[in-house]
């Protein structure tokens, strides 16, 4: 059963549903979307992730048809969407504000789109029941939007956008209007619903946690271009540029020059560190070239004693400790003045009054990392 499902998923991945080809959108000389090409596969949830103003919303609006591109093409199942207005596209969108019609009941909101499908009354009622059951809102069918809580409104908005069985579903900041606790719950619920109806979905968000929880692939957008596309684990563990590394999660960047480059290892001399950085793979580059070494805080070890390895360590002073419950963030300062973040899991229970030695402010410590834990990026 499980193998069958994963097989079909792999099969689906091969089918391109949406092709974006060299798409451009120019607002009075400002390129909000700059020459983007992107393939979206059938049945996947793709997240466009970026800071506000990076062009992700414009790209979504181009797909929905609210904006017309300056150049390029959008193909859905091989058919161009250019020139079609929003109501002619087999695409539906869930808006950030949900955009539920305030003067209509939940039922009427969902029926709104179905009326344009030339369906019989019986058919419309059946579909309304179907989507309301899907989002578990059947008992609220007669309510008006203002009589619903935020989470309930979101379910209705989702039901409304799914009712017409769109070929492509667009989600604009789907959790933007919810509080944090409800967010985590709704993220998984929505993914379950989307997967059960097997709809292809493009979502836009500035919240990386949301993108990584919900999406099967993530595209990092910046200044109108997509910097990196990949599964959440890829963009986090193997960022392809400094922008991606710094945008997703937090990261320590060490700048240095390439000093050893063998097929199986390389070394980078970094002025901030007493010993060279040793990485367990070759770097295709020339000696002396400027590189950046990106190291995630959770991959930094913090010890009282000097580590045994000859590379990949430094001395530092604890400047600040942020205790976050499950883990603590140590703000360390190297002798050169460089600041390094280290995230350490609080695996032992800390009890006040316990005399066991514990790292604290102004302690001199050693930080170290393994030769496989960092990523070498061009400077």
């Amino acid at each position: 059963m499980a193998t069958e499902q994963s097989n079909s998923q792999i099969e689906n991945k091969k089918l391109v549903q949406l092709e974006i080809k060299k798409l451009e959108k120019d607002f009075d000389g400002f390129k909000a979307v700059n020459n983007i090409s992107l393939d979206i596969y059938q049945g996947e949830i793709f997240a466009l992730l970026g800071a506000s103003g990076c062009g992700k919303s414009t790209l979504l609006r181009l797909l929905a048809g609210f904006e017309m591109p300056t150049a390029g093409d959008i193909l859905l199942n091989g058919q161009s969407l250019i020139g079609l207005s929003p109501h002619e596209r087999p695409i539906n969108m869930m808006f950030q504000s949900y955009a539920l019609f305030p003067h209509m009941t939940v039922e009427q909101n969902i029926a709104f789109g179905l009326r344009y499908e030339h369906l019989s009354k019986v058919e419309i009622t059946r579909k309304i029941d179907e989507v309301l059951n899907l989002v578990q809102m059947a008992q609220y069918a007669k309510r008006k939007p203002h009589q619903l809580s935020g989470g309930q409104q979101q379910r209705v908005a989702l039901a409304r956008s799914l009712a017409k069985e769109p070929k492509l579903l667009l989600l604009d900041e789907p959790m933007g209007a919810l509080d944090k606790k409800l967010r985590t719950q709704m993220q998984l619920e929505i993914v379950d619903i989307l997967e059960s109806v097997e709809v292809t979905c493009v979502m836009v968000t500035h919240d990386q946690e949301e993108a990584m929880t919900m999406a099967s692939r993530v595209g990092i957008m910046d200044a109108g271009v997509i910097r990196q596309i990949g599964q959440p684990i890829e963009v986090y563990e193997q960022p392809n540029c400094r922008m991606t590394a710094e945008f997703i999660g937090s990261v320590n960047i060490f700048e240095g020059t390439l000093s050893v480059d063998e097929p199986d290892h390389a070394q980078i001399n970094c002025p901030d560190l007493p010993v060279p950085i040793h990485v367990a793979h070759g770097v295709v580059g020339s000696f002396g070239m400027q590189l950046a070494f990106a190291l995630r805080p959770e991959k930094v070890r913090v010890d009282m004693e000097k580590p045994a390895n000859a590379h990949n360590f430094a001395r530092g002073v604890i400047e600040d400790i942020a205790y976050l419950g499950s883990h603590s963030i140590y703000h360390l300062r190297l002798p050169s003045g460089k600041k390094v973040l280290a995230s350490v899991a609080n695996s032992d229970r800390l009890v006040t009054g316990d005399d066991a030695p514990r790292l604290t402010w102004n302690d001199e410590v050693y930080l170290s990392w393994s030769e496989k834990s960092g990523v070498v990026l061009s400077a």
């Binding site: 929905a64 955009a99 305030p102 003067h103 709104f112 008006k144 203002h146």
Partner: protein, 279 residues
């Protein structure tokens, strides 16, 4: 001590303000129940002037004429004012937008005498050049009232349109509605309260107007304010007091009902929101 002093002073200010506003109206209403022909001499209680009022055909036809014109002007003003508001709010930036916006609201501050005179000149010129309007009457008053009421409607409706959530319209389009469908099924129902408010404002403005109507009216088309004004010049009859009393009553009733209805809706809404969150 100082607090008490300020308290006393503000009470006095409040009371004298209300006296200033409402005593004249109460006196007017009081004398409508006067037996005497003379408005200012009390000669015992009577409601005979109310009977007289309803028997006065000139007065009654003026009331009817005013209501008719107010109804038609308000309706027309809502249609035109809404169109103007949409143009002002929705059409983005176009050449001459600032001028257009300024000009549509200019009648708000234009002296009525000027508006009236200019419309009179327009109608005279038109009738000379085109033969229409052949004579001034209820149609010309209707046009004149529509002109200035439209500006008020445009202001009321455009402020509502400005705070309108555009994503509602986009959602409707996304779900398959054409632009026209979006307007009639989404935009219009949602801004309907503003249209109603604009209509009521236009209705009262038209009902109340004396100056502009005097300029553009003709024989046989006398509105209520004109009748009242001209009869007062010949000496106030207690009939006018009776009429005024009825008008004040009607207006207060309408205001009270509107207030009560809106409060009730708000309470229901609050309760529903409460129950939604308690679930």
């Amino acid at each position: 001590m100082t607090n008490a002093g300020i308290g006393r002073w503000s009470w006095m200010a409040l009371v004298s303000g209300f006296i200033f506003l409402y005593v004249p109206i109460f006196i007017l209403m009081f004398y409508s129940f006067n037996e005497s022909r003379l408005v200012t001499v009390w000669a015992g209680f009577s409601i005979k002037w109310y009977g007289e009022l309803f028997r006065d055909e000139q007065m009654m036809s003026a009331v009817w004429m005013s209501l008719k014109i107010a109804f038609l002007s308000a309706s027309m003003a809502v249609v035109l004012g809404t169109m103007a508001a949409i143009a002002m709010v929705r059409f983005g930036r176009f050449r001459g937008k600032t001028m257009f916006t300024g000009m549509i609201t200019a009648p708000l501050v234009m002296p009525e005498v000027i508006t009236g005179l200019s419309l009179l000149l327009l109608f005279v010129t038109l009738s000379q050049a085109l033969g229409w309007p052949a004579e001034r009457g209820s149609v010309t008053i209707w046009i004149a009232h529509t002109t200035f009421c439209m500006a008020y409607v445009a202001v009321v409706v455009s402020s509502r349109l400005r705070e309108f959530d555009r994503s509602l319209e986009e959602a409707a389009m996304d779900l398959g509605a054409s632009r026209l469908g979006v307007f009639f099924r989404i935009t219009l129902p949602i801004v309907a309260p503003a249209l109603l408010a604009g209509w009521l404002l236009a209705f009262t403005l038209s009902l109340d107007d004396l100056v502009i109507a005097s300029f553009v009216s003709g024989p046989g088309s006398t509105t209520l304010p004109m009748v009242v004004f001209s009869s007062v010049r010949l000496g106030v009859s207690p009939k006018i007091n009776a009429l005024a009393t009825l008008l004040v009553l009607a207006v207060s009733m309408a205001t009270f009902i509107a207030w009560w209805y809106m409060r009730r809706q708000e309470l229901i809404r609050q309760k529903e929101i409460q129950s939604a969150f308690n679930k």
